[in-house]
């Protein structure tokens, strides 16, 4: 059974059809890239999967469970986490708190226990703090746990954002342009990093990316979008020679 199954997905913004009749499915443990020209609806699809937007038509199923209509936090609890194209960390909060917030859904004390700091509160807080610090240590960010997120350099902010997403304990990780604004050297590092995450946390990954070097390098399968519809899907090698894809990108230089 596919992990994620999208069928007939359509979304309109007051007349503008951002995603129209999009169909694809993702198998467990896959690493899939979504590419397409600017404005093709890639980020909109992420927003639809995670519940930021409510799909106008169609269905999104995670392990056979319908996601359309659920709130973003409920969807995250079912096991989908994401990062953002423009980093959206909690800037004024500490690195540790950024990760601890992502554990929100895994805490087993009630508001009353939190107000009085009684009952399960202390044990649970200790557990969450240790989990968060362990995760930060895996990402080599534990030395910066008390630093405000906004004070981290750009590369570390990207890394923290991925760590924060993984703290929600996802089965499916959506990365929105993880290599945006990086130089070729950093892109290679990011490629290794993404494969390492997949191995270490055994998550399924979908990534949106413009950097063809990265996409072709690590993705096992590609989905090409144009005007909100899938125009091609297949192995990276097939996509490179696909006539429709070349047409969609016409006028853009594709570095392969």
């Amino acid at each position: 059974m596919p992990l994620l199954e999208i069928s007939g997905l359509t979304h309109r913004f007051a007349g503008l059809c951002a995603v129209s009749d999009c169909n694809f499915s993702i198998e467990p443990q896959e690493l899939v890239g979504i590419i397409g020209p600017n404005g093709a609806g890639k980020t909109t699809i992420f927003n639809l999967i995670t519940g930021v937007y409510r799909a106008s038509e169609g269905s999104i199923k995670l392990n056979g469970r319908e996601l359309v209509g659920l709130t973003p936090n409920a969807i995250t609890r079912l096991g989908i986490a994401r990062t953002f194209q423009n980093i959206r960390l909690f800037k004024e909060l500490s690195v540790l708190d950024n990760v601890r917030i992502a554990h929100y859904g895994q805490i087993a004390y009630t508001p009353a226990e939190a107000l009085l700091h009684i009952g399960r509160f202390r044990a649970e807080e200790r557990r969450i703090t240790n989990l968060a610090l362990d995760l930060l240590a895996v990402f080599k960010l534990d030395g910066l746990a008390d630093e405000k997120a906004k004070n981290l350099p750009y590369g570390l902010q990207r890394r923290l954002e991925i760590a924060r997403a993984l703290a929600t304990n996802p089965r499916l990780l959506l990365l929105d342009e993880p290599a945006a604004g990086m130089n070729p050297n950093e892109i290679i590092q990011m490629m290794d990093f993404i494969s390492w995450i997949r191995r270490t946390f055994s998550v399924t990954i979908i990534l949106i990316e413009h950097q063809m070097r990265l996409v072709m390098g690590i993705c096992e399968r590609l989905i090409v979008l144009d005007f909100g519809a899938t125009i091609a899907a297949g192995l990276p090698a097939e996509i490179q020679s696909n006539a429709k894809v070349l047409e969609a990108y016409l006028g853009e230089e594709v570095v392969l």
Binding site: V52, F90, I101, A102, H103, P111, L115, H117, E125, T129
Partner: protein
């Protein structure tokens, strides 16, 4: 801009004092003892006692409003409305419901009932906060404040515009001390919990926080209900300190007063809220001889403060004494464990 030496010294003294390990036990027991003896033996004159009562009430109001305006990053101007609900419920109970002989003993329950009433109203106000933010939520809370005032003005059973009187002077210094400590403690607990981190994440980025599994609706309800609960408590205490209330006391000007104390002390800081409430309340009393000029001088000082310290005295900072010890320990233990494993591979 370098801080003046006096202010630096003051900060240092303050920090050393509050970080001392016996600070809290000494402060709590000593504070309660001083408050009790002061009100029983009257070694403080009644005027000074009244000012201290107002300081306590204002601390409760400021800390609870800071939860919404500072920690959650919303802009609520309806705090006086919650205060009014608490004041009227508590007063009605002590004047009309409780037998007058028992009023003294049942007083804490009247205050508690006022807080619960305000919390229920807060629950209703929390619902529009799911959909609107910022300026629009400010308008909603402004409307709420006006609705409370006009409803009270039009119910004859609570005195209408003439107000309600006949309360005994039940708000004594020890009670104020108790409720102030309780509200500061509970709100501090909330902030340094999972739900408090949720409140902070809503301020930073609501969409990201929702996507990081924070149940934003639940968090907003908790924050607004807790905040309005303590506003109601403060209202009840206020009514029984002044022994007279009318709807005009709880209009937008009262809300503005609380807002000033929040922004003077500094947003997202419990310590700042306490400092803000103390300074503002005492300064207003000191400047009383100036008569109407007081209302010129106070805003002027605020303008200067906003120019030189735009985030308030303690904006986004917290005194160590208010941070939970358990959290600091957990991190310390984790670090020493890690160092141990790193050293012996």
């Amino acid at each position: 801009m370098p801080k003046p030496v006096i202010i630096q010294k003051l900060f240092e003294v303050f920090r050393n004092l509050t970080d001392h390990k016996y600070f809290w036990p000494v402060f709590l027991i000593g504070g309660l003892a001083v408050c009790t003896t002061a009100s029983v033996f009257e070694f403080l004159d009644l005027y000074l006692q009244l000012i201290l009562v107002y300081v306590g009430i204002n601390i409760i109001l400021t800390v609870s409003l800071n939860l919404i305006n500072g920690y959650m990053g919303e802009f609520s101007v309806g705090h006086a409305g919650f205060m009014a609900v608490g004041a009227y419920i508590a007063s009605l109970l002590t004047v009309h419901v409780f037998p007058s002989a028992m009023a003294g003993i049942l007083f804490p329950f009247a205050i508690l009932a006022g807080g619960v009433g305000a919390a229920l109203v807060g629950f209703i106000v929390a619902i529009p906060s799911f959909k609107t933010r910022g300026d629009y939520l400010a308008i909603v809370t402004l409307a709420f404040c006006m609705i409370v005032k006009s409803v009270l003005e039009n119910i004859d059973a609570v005195g209408g515009p003439r107000g309600l009187l006949g309360m005994e002077k039940l708000t004594t210094l020890p009670w104020v001390f108790f409720w102030t400590v309780l509200s500061v403690w509970v709100i501090r607990n909330l902030i340094y919990s999972n739900f408090g981190r949720g409140v902070l994440s809503i301020r930073e980025d609501e969409i990201a926080s929702d996507l990081m599994s924070v149940n934003t609706r639940q968090v907003k309800i908790i924050a607004i209900v807790v905040s309005s609960f303590f506003a109601g408590i403060a209202g009840g205490l206020f009514a029984h300190a002044l022994q007279f209330i009318n709807p005009r006391m709880f209009d937008i000007l009262k809300s503005t007063d609380i807002l000033i104390m929040v922004y003077l002390g500094g947003i997202a800081s419990i310590c700042g809220s306490i400092i803000g409430a103390v300074i503002y309340t005492i300064l207003l009393e000191i400047l009383r001889p100036l008569g109407i000029w007081r209302m010129v001088l106070m805003p002027l000082m605020l303008v200067l403060l906003m120019i030189y310290r735009p985030r308030g005295i303690m904006g986004m900072k917290e005194a160590l004494a208010f941070l939970p010890l358990g959290d600091r320990w957990t991190q310390k233990i984790w670090r020493s464990k890690k160092e141990a494993t790193d050293a012996s591979p």
